[in-house]
Amino acid sequence: MSLTPSLKPLALAGLLSAVAAIGGCSDSAFESSFAYSEGTLSLVREAREGTKANPGVKKLLDDRFGDPQQLKAWEKMPIDFGGALTSVAEVKQSESGSQVVKLTVEEGQSLPAKAGTVHFMTGACEGETVQVAQWNAKTGEATLAAISGNEIAAGDSCVIDRGAGLSTGRMLYMRHCSHCHGTSGDGNGPTARYMTPKPRDYRNGVFKFKSTNDMSKASRDDLSRIVKYGIPGTYMPSFLLMKDDEHHAIIEYVRFLSMRGEYERKLVAELSSDYSQTAYESRVESGEKKAEILQELDEFLAEDLKESAGSLGDDLAETWTTADTEEAAIVPSVPREANTPESRRRGRELYLSKTLNCADCHGIDGAGNGPQTIAFEKNPAKGDELYNEPGLHDIWDNLNQPRNLQLGMYRGGRRPIDLFSRIHAGIQGSRMPSFKNTPHEDIWHIVNYVLSIPFETEPGATGVAPSAAEAVAVPAAVTVPVAE
């Protein structure tokens, strides 16, 4: 035992070198790529890969988002790509003839220790990214590797290492998230197969637990809460101990992956009805000439898709920007109703009422065993064919039964406002619909009732028995909520 201290360094060194030899030590040794969606892969080759003259889906996507080794920061997207904002104080020539710009930061900020690139935001060089050959962090003097064709002037604002935040996010994401959520955010990492429920596939841009209304995306705060506090009842753990800037970087990267996935989906949607493999084959069968179809596709790529490539990005940027604004946030018009037996009784009445019909899925006693959970549901993605197993399914095609409210486990948070948001906006991607037209007082009564379910001694013990007219109605036929 007393030998340990003297032997330890040796043994440790041996072990470390063995590990290093097997696993490799640097991040750069780990190469990865973004997978393309099934939608993209279902297109005809020319639509996927592009024609001689015109880019296809893959190139349009890669030009805007890059791959994990070489991420691209598409300016249009409302993502904080990171980097230090500076402005040009002075432009001069060095002795060797290369261009030197002196950069300053706003008061209170400090210059970064390293600088690889300078990206100009304003001035004649707007949009250009120039490599930095030498960087003096004390004076802020950057010797540019190449002389720009356009004139750099004092007062131009520029960003040092634009995209640094995104690549930090990527690094953290690959370390902590990708083994479940996958490199491209498809929820299909190596550990995902062992999990129920499945990790979120970000590529629809749909997140379940959010504080924004039913038409909006999740806000940054919503994603931040999930990363910080985890999701009880699922495999998503809490990352509370991570630093704030790390949280921020990860969330921006997740938003980046969502936007990439959604953009890909939108591009595919433009093409899939006419140029998917199956559509192409059936068109050929119905007598169209192959060359003509491809000629038509080429024209479509050249004009329509090129145009929509820009406008789809604008739409995407707008929806994600809106999510962080006040107009998207759910704000109850009245404060929470006092949590009294009367309120809970009213909540239970509403819960069982025919109009809201919560019990249809969540069950009369809130055990998540309503009649819908044993009915066979139609699969809208497969021409309304019935699913093989009974129960409710989400848009990711997983069995997604309604929550058992007796467990007191609230995935999206247990604050009254969290439950209010769940009821008000519904849960996107799942069968939980939005009840935004229900008066806010009534939603609060339901919240009070739902929060009391885990403590009920018997179903409805906190309320009175429902009147006969409002007793839960078991539907004769299975109703299928309209998919998005």
């Binding site: 007393s2 506090y229 109850p332 009245v334 404060p335 929470r336 604050r415 009254p416 406002i417």
Partner: protein, 266 residues
């Protein structure tokens, strides 16, 4: 060459003596000074055993070195002496170690009882929280301020994750349980380690001596995300803990309208 091996076996016990002497002052053995009262006792036991074991190790190694040295320097023509079969020696080396082992086991009984036996828990110890381990995080449940912690959940309980606030300077108890597989509640600085066993609610007591942040990690390989199971124990004065719980209560009763009012105040 014979002498080399003799010196070789003299060398290691010498290294052991030096490292044992300087280890306590350099803090090689422990991640930090003990931050709880039982931690100090545990460290005391550790050093007691370290002394006994070091003396034994060094003594036997020097004896080995001495025997080798004598053999190396002896005239090769002289005859060897065999002590095999000596009853006296065998009795000595059986009785001496058994006394040592009995001494060690008796001397740690009190500390073990104090840590593990519920009836020996300090009387003034209060149950402050329930800590539920799950793959891969620590879920914390505090009773509603002013109420007592019970095994069952109660309306008004306060919930948090991966951060446990404890008052300093007084013994506290947490109820440890697990939602899935075995985990272990381990705080290296507090010298607290207790397995969480499915189906059991295990009370664990400790007292934190100084204000500060301490690690809480899982010490039972619980699955692929074992390394992620890291939380923080925040030790603060009782009044700070009370203040924290008040804030947590306000946060947990958040109805989304008050914060709007607060925003417009700013």
């Amino acid at each position: 060459m014979k002498k080399f091996w003799a010196l070789f076996f003299f060398f290691w016990p010498t290294v052991a003596i030096i490292s044992c002497l300087i280890a306590p002052s350099r803090g090689w053995w422990f991640p930090s000074a003990p931050m709880s009262r039982t931690g100090i006792q545990i460290d005391g036991l550790f050093y007691l055993i370290l002394i006994i074991v070091s003396i034994t190790f060094v003594g036997t190694q020097y004896a080995l070195g001495y025997a080798l040295w004598m053999g190396a320097t002896k005239d090769s023509a002289s005859r060897a002496h065999f002590s095999h079969g000596s009853h006296k020696l065998e009795i000595i080396w059986t009785i001496v170690p058994s006394f040592i082992l009995v001494f060690i086991s008796l001397s740690q009984l009190d500390v073990l009882a104090e840590i593990r036996v519920i009836s020996k828990f300090p009387e003034q110890a209060t149950k402050i929280a329930e800590v539920t381990a799950r793959q891969f995080e620590w879920r914390i449940r505090y009773p509603k301020p002013g109420e007592k912690l019970t095994t069952e959940e109660n309306p008004g309980d306060l919930y948090y994750v991966n951060e446990l606030h404890v008052p300093t300077g007084k013994p506290v108890i947490i109820n440890l349980r697990t939602q899935d597989v075995q985990h272990a509640f381990f705080s290296p600085q507090l010298r607290v380690k207790q397995d969480a066993v499915p189906g059991l609610v295990i009370p664990v007591w400790f007292d934190v001596l100084e204000v500060g942040n301490y690690d809480l990690v899982c010490a039972e390989l619980c699955g692929w995300g074992h390394y992620k199971m890291k939380a923080r124990i925040v030790a603060q004065s009782q009044s700070s803990v009370d203040k924290y719980l008040k804030e947590l209560e306000a946060e947990q009763n958040e109805d989304g309208t008050k914060s709007e009012a607060a925003k417009s105040d700013e």
